[in-house]
């Protein structure tokens, strides 16, 4: 009976893995298919990868996506971390007000956030482009940073900071040598969260981008109407594998290094 149960649950896990990964695997296989048909295998090729590499639109979209994700995560992390310290020292009503506003982009539907930002940009005659996408991304990244850093700020004690000052550190020194290291786990996870949120965003980018600039998401969306070229499959494959490798490294490399160190001893 137990064996049967184990078998059934293994089958269930396998079925869901299949559901989750078969579509992705299909794209990967098609990226090496020399024909344009989705139904027929007409031979192995890497041409689509070369074509993708040479395609300026795709490369520009890729660059934009990464640059926006990195900059928006960085700015949101700096702004959010400093803010979290300040908010923590506020009186409770102002703290609560600010935290409620902070939560709005997380609770609100992306489509409303995107549209409200777009209306605001246009109403104040800010032309849409790279900078408006960046502002929008920083805005929806900030809550994630604040919510990651806030618990660490609450846990950290003020005494260490004051001890540092008593021992002759300047406030800047005390901040970088005492306060920040204590907050660091929250800061890094906030940054990572913000970075991935930004990489993946479509809806808010769609409304705040304006013509002439694309990220990967908006590019894929615009291709749907024109008919998808196999270069998109090549691009998907590259992106999926990159994400997979980065996440594996992020999740397992620290552990693995730890073990290696342990063995060396």
């Amino acid at each position: 009976m137990d064996k049967l149960k184990k078998f059934a649950s293994d089958c269930y896990l396998a079925l869901i893995v299949l559901f989750m990964y078969a579509p992705i695997a299909t794209l990967m296989v098609l990226s090496f298919n020399s024909g344009r048909s989705r139904a027929k295998w007409s031979g192995f090729t890497t041409d689509w990868y070369l074509e993708m590499w040479a395609d300026e639109t795709i490369m520009a979209a890729l660059r934009n996506t990464v640059i926006i994700a990195f900059l928006s995560a960085l700015i949101a992390t700096v702004l959010g971390t400093i803010a979290a310290i300040g908010i923590n020292n506020m009186k409770s009503w102002s703290r609560n007000t600010i935290m409620s506003i902070t939560n709005i982009p997380m609770l609100n539907a992306d489509i409303v956030t995107g549209i409200s930002l777009m209306l605001c940009f246009i109403a104040f005659r800010i032309s849409l482009g790279f900078h408006t996408i960046l502002i929008a991304h920083i805005t929806f990244n900030l809550p994630y940073v604040i919510l990651s850093v806030m618990p660490k700020v609450r846990q950290s004690s003020k005494d260490t900071y004051e001890a540092a000052l008593d021992l002759g550190a300047t406030p800047t020194q005390a901040f970088f040598k005492v306060v920040l290291p204590e907050l660091m786990p929250g800061v890094t996870s906030g940054f990572m969260l913000a970075f991935t949120m930004s990489l993946d965003d479509f809806i808010i980018t769609h409304f705040t981008r304006g013509a002439g600039i694309d990220t990967i998401s908006t590019l894929v969306y615009s291709q749907v109407r024109k008919g998808i070229s196999p270069t998109m499959y090549a691009l998907s494959t590259v992106i999926f594998i990159t994400v997979f490798v980065i996440l594996i490294m992020g999740n397992y490399a620290p552990e693995w290094l730890e073990k290696k160190k342990g063995k060396a001893k």
């Binding site: 893995v17 506020m90 539907a109 489509i111 777009m118 749907v224 999740n251």
Partner: protein, 276 residues
């Protein structure tokens, strides 16, 4: 730097959220409640009563509720199995089920489009097997598959987190006291996983209710959802007043549904899913 002074550290942030959260919301409220002549009106909100706006909202509600239920029905047994096998948060198997969360969702929808298209992979396989081609793309079912596929990891993770928090002893105690599996499930496990269910449901229902990309890519403009209506008002018709009015209506639906879902959660302080 004393406590009072350190409050001012939040200054730049306050300026930012006023500029890019509060003012944009006021802008959309302004457009939603005014007409072309800038006079106050409720007609933009009342637009929802027209058939071509009301239908897509109704359809979106049905599809998002449906896909939330399907996600739950798939994810709950999965989370139970992961728990029973004691797969920890860091284990590779758990990682596999959460990984798609980090992959560009439009590319994942693109994958389904490739599978379901008229000349797509599934029909290709059917033809090779000499079976009749099926009409798969541009159907309600296709859109729903897309929703389930896109948002499933967001249901799995909070459910898994909630189930892993339940102490084995609590469950064993129930069995020792003579409870059946079914009783243990409904009286112990489900009530204790409510915080996870609540965040899973919100993380699936809200994006599914408001999507326009999935319905456009897999519904081919035939399965019109409220998100598509709003997107068109802004990107094609450029009727900002009407678009804002409908966005506000959608916002009300989002808020009300979240209030209803949160009502089931007594532990208000529980962390929201813990995305990472």
């Amino acid at each position: 730097m004393n406590n009072k002074a350190s409050r001012y550290l939040a200054g730049p942030y306050v300026v930012w959220i006023v500029g890019f959260i509060v003012i944009p919301l006021l802008t959309i409220l302004y457009y939603g409640f005014t007409s072309d002549t800038n006079a106050f009106t409720l007609s933009n909100l009342m637009e929802i009563r027209r058939w071509e706006n009301y239908r897509p909202l109704y359809r979106a509600l049905l599809l998002s509720a449906g896909s939330t239920i399907v996600c739950f029905l798939i994810a709950f047994p999965l989370a139970m199995i992961l728990r029973e096998n004691k797969f920890s948060r860091g284990s590779f198997i758990v990682f596999i089920f959460i990984l798609p969360m980090w992959m560009n969702s439009l590319l994942r929808i693109l994958a389904w489009q490739t599978l379901l298209e008229r000349k797509g992979v599934i029909n290709g396989i059917l033809t090779t097997l000499h079976l009749p081609e099926q009409h798969l793309i541009n159907t309600t079912a296709a859109v729903m598959i897309g929703m389930v596929y896109d948002f499933l990891p967001f249901m799995i993770l909070p459910l898994y987190n909630a189930l892993m928090k339940i102490d084995d002893n609590t469950i064993n105690a129930a069995y020792d006291l003579g409870a059946s599996f079914w009783q243990t499930l409904t009286k112990i496990i489900l009530p204790l996983s409510v915080p996870g269910i609540v965040s899973g449901v919100t993380m699936v229902f809200v994006p599914a209710l408001t999507t326009f990309a999935i319905s456009n890519m897999l519904g081919g403009g035939k399965i019109y959802l409220i998100g598509n209506v709003i997107e068109q008002e802004f990107m094609q018709d450029s009727d900002w007043h009407q678009g804002s009015g409908l966005s506000l209506v959608l916002m009300i639906f989002v808020i009300v549904s979240m209030l209803i879902v949160n009502h089931f959660d007594d532990h208000k302080d529980s962390e929201r899913g813990g995305i990472m």
